[in-house]
């Protein structure tokens, strides 16, 4: 059954004294979805995750899992399992005993328990390491044990609290792929907390971006990246050029703005946009601007001068000054063209697709 709600979060707030860690969050996470809570530290994402797990209690609002309200239900009776940031591997137990920890209470019988432990270890590619002591594991292996220990319980929801942050870059990228594959294999709803936008973009079906205890936007990765609702979201998800723009007119879901270089642009109105506002921001991602070589033509182009360039291997970043703009534009150009040929000070023409321009609430 597609799109069946698995976690329903309704008006949930968490206050510590006068400080609101989470402010009126409302969100539905669907069954079988890989969902990410993305935001900087202190944005309330971990607080929300811990309330889903049952480690913290909402000050206001309710959380339901699979249709069951979770009010007053402690962590040990919830259909959720968690992979902790520190992994929380029991140091006095070996790998098998760690994975079997939760099964012991289910009294499955030795044979069935053995089978489930082996199955879980195979899922995370740790077969044969069952007798290893917890102290003899590498960081990546500890993380796999934490995963297996949670998955073996066959939870309705698997919660992951920054599971990759302790790993080095290469291992992290490998684990991203593996986590995604694992989620699709087991079909369990995954809720991931992360501050790394690439992690969220790369693994999730949908992302909730959070700032200061509030949910700013909930959408699919490409939507979040290409059509952020405001400057904060746009900025958090990667580089973006911001250009001051005058509002010409607003009309239902559309907005027309005007800037120096891009002229008049009609685009989607960001949700919650105040129609009285006369001035706003127009955004375009650096990779959506492309350098026009020699006499190449584009339907839409602007002209400027290169003021700086940064070489990054697969791409080069050009900083371009466009007459009439307060700030320079940042352009990222893939290096399979002759990007080396453009020196600082050279005039340059940039092509763009008007669809790549987004109006942003401030």
């Amino acid at each position: 059954m597609p799109d069946r709600p698995m976690i329903q979060i309704a008006g949930v707030s968490k206050a510590y004294g006068s400080f609101k860690a989470l402010d009126d969050a409302t969100l539905t996470i669907r069954e079988g979805e890989f969902f990410s809570l993305l935001g900087p530290s202190g944005c309330g994402k971990t607080t929300l995750l811990r309330m889903i797990a049952g480690f913290d209690t909402p000050t206001e609002g309710t959380i339901a899992i699979d249709g069951q309200p979770m009010d007053g239900i402690p962590a040990n009776r919830r259909p959720t399992n968690m992979v902790f940031q520190s992994y929380a591997i029991f140091p006095h137990l070996n790998v098998d005993q760690n994975v079997a920890y939760g099964l012991k209470r289910l009294k499955l019988g030795a044979a069935e328990e053995r089978r489930r432990v082996d199955e879980a270890l195979a899922q995370v590619s740790l077969s044969g390491l069952g007798k290893r002591g917890a102290t003899e594991l590498s960081g990546g292996q500890r993380q796999r044990v934490a995963l297996a220990r949670a998955l073996v319980m066959r939870p309705k929801v698997l919660l992951l609290d920054e599971p990759l942050s302790a790993l080095d870059k290469k291992l992290r990228e490998q684990m991203q792929v593996e986590l995604r594959r694992l989620q699709q294999a087991v079909g369990i709803t995954f809720v991931l907390v992360t501050h790394d936008q690439y992690e969220a973009l790369g693994m999730s079906d949908r992302i909730a971006v959070m700032f200061g205890g509030r949910i700013a936007q909930v959408a699919a990765p490409s939507q979040i990246y290409q059509r952020p609702v405001n400057r904060q979201v746009a900025d958090f998800l990667g580089g973006m050029n911001f250009i001051r723009a005058n509002v010409v007119e607003t009309n239902g879901t559309a907005i027309t703005v005007e800037t120096a270089g891009f002229g008049r642009v009609k685009t989607e109105k960001p949700s919650g946009f105040n129609d009285e506002t006369r001035e706003t921001t127009l955004g375009i991602r650096p990779e959506r601007l492309r350098v026009l070589w020699d006499d190449a033509k584009a339907k839409h182009e602007i002209a400027g001068t290169i003021v700086d360039r940064h070489y990054f291997g697969e791409i080069t970043h050009f900083i371009v000054d466009v007459p009439g703009f307060e700030k320079t534009l940042s352009v990222s150009e893939s290096n399979n063209f002759g990007a080396d040929d453009l020196p600082v000070g050279a005039p340059v023409r940039l092509g763009y697709d008007p669809d790549a321009l987004v109006a942003l609430a401030d």
Binding site: A53, G54, F55, P74, A75, N76, R77, T80, N81, M82, F84, Q85, S86, Y87, A88, I89, F90, P91, H92, Y101, G102, R105, L106, A134, T135, G139, R142, R149, A150, M153, A166
Partner: protein
């Protein structure tokens, strides 16, 4: 210049250790000497002073008393220590520093003052002096040691271990039994051993609060008046020394094991 200094430092360290431990070495040496007078040259080797020990009923009574007092004091001060260590390491509350300071205070209070004040309080409460009052006094001086050992065991204990247990379906009691207890067990054993040893060797409080039932150190003190019994005292002292040394070494091994576990548990966080 610094080379000369470092050579003198070695000499100083050597002399220091000799000063500390030489008298202690004499104890076992004279305890196997045939002569009843502790002086050089040694008269000959004998184990008779040791053989005679179990034939002294008063000594056996004192040993039995010491055992009871030591066990009770160790168990009580460890239980109280667990509560204190958990509170101090886990929760942030008003007066936390003051509380831990007060718990540690008996460590630096002059023991004789402590003993006299305890005596006054116990007598004014109308209590009889007995092994029970000795136990109370010993709990008081053992707690700082228990808390120190247990703090190390509880500190840095990754709280998410207990959360992980709850998350995997375990109840609060089950979590304590299956995670918390095994994690801090080495520290608890270490605390038991340390407080037992301290109680076993403690003299002043036992002397003031014991009444007619004496512990080993008080018994030894009583025997010192009789010159002829000195070799027996030396033999007994040697046994106490060796026993204490073994217990404390084992306690230290346990304490280190506890620390390793804790460090591993929180290493990645």
């Amino acid at each position: 210049m610094s080379r000369i200094l470092s050579r003198w430092l070695t000499v100083y360290a050597f002399l220091y250790i000799v000063f500390l431990y030489l008298p202690v070495i004499f104890l076992p040496i004279f305890s196997v000497n045939t002569s009843a007078v502790p002086q050089f040259p040694l008269a000959g080797f004998t184990s008779k002073w040791y053989v005679e020990l179990p034939k002294t009923p008063a000594l056996l009574d004192a040993a039995w008393n010491s055992l009871i007092v030591g066990l009770c004091a160790a168990v009580l001060s460890t239980i109280l220590g667990i509560c204190a260590a958990r509170a101090v390491t886990r929760y942030r509350f008003r007066g936390r520093t003051v509380a831990s300071g007060l718990i540690m205070a008996p460590l630096v209070l002059p023991e004789i003052i402590l003993a006299v004040s305890l005596l006054i309080v116990i007598l004014s409460l109308g209590l009889q002096l007995s092994l029970f009052t000795v136990i109370l006094g010993h709990v008081l001086i053992c707690i700082p040691y228990s808390v120190t050992v247990l703090n190390a065991g509880f500190e840095g204990f990754d709280r998410s271990l207990e959360e992980a247990s709850a998350d995997l379906g375990e109840t609060a009691f089950g979590t304590f039994r299956r995670v918390t207890l095994p994690m801090v067990a080495p520290a608890i054993i270490s605390s038991l051993l340390v407080s037992f040893t301290i109680s076993l060797d403690e003299f002043i409080i036992a002397f003031f609060l014991a009444g007619t039932e004496v512990t080993l150190p008080v018994y030894i003190w009583g025997q010192l008046r009789f010159a002829a019994r000195l070799p027996g005292v030396l033999a007994l002292g040697t046994l106490l020394l060796v026993g204490s040394f073994i217990l404390l070494s084992f306690a230290e091994i346990m304490r280190r094991r506890a620390q390793r576990r804790i460090q591993m548990g929180g290493a990645i966080a």
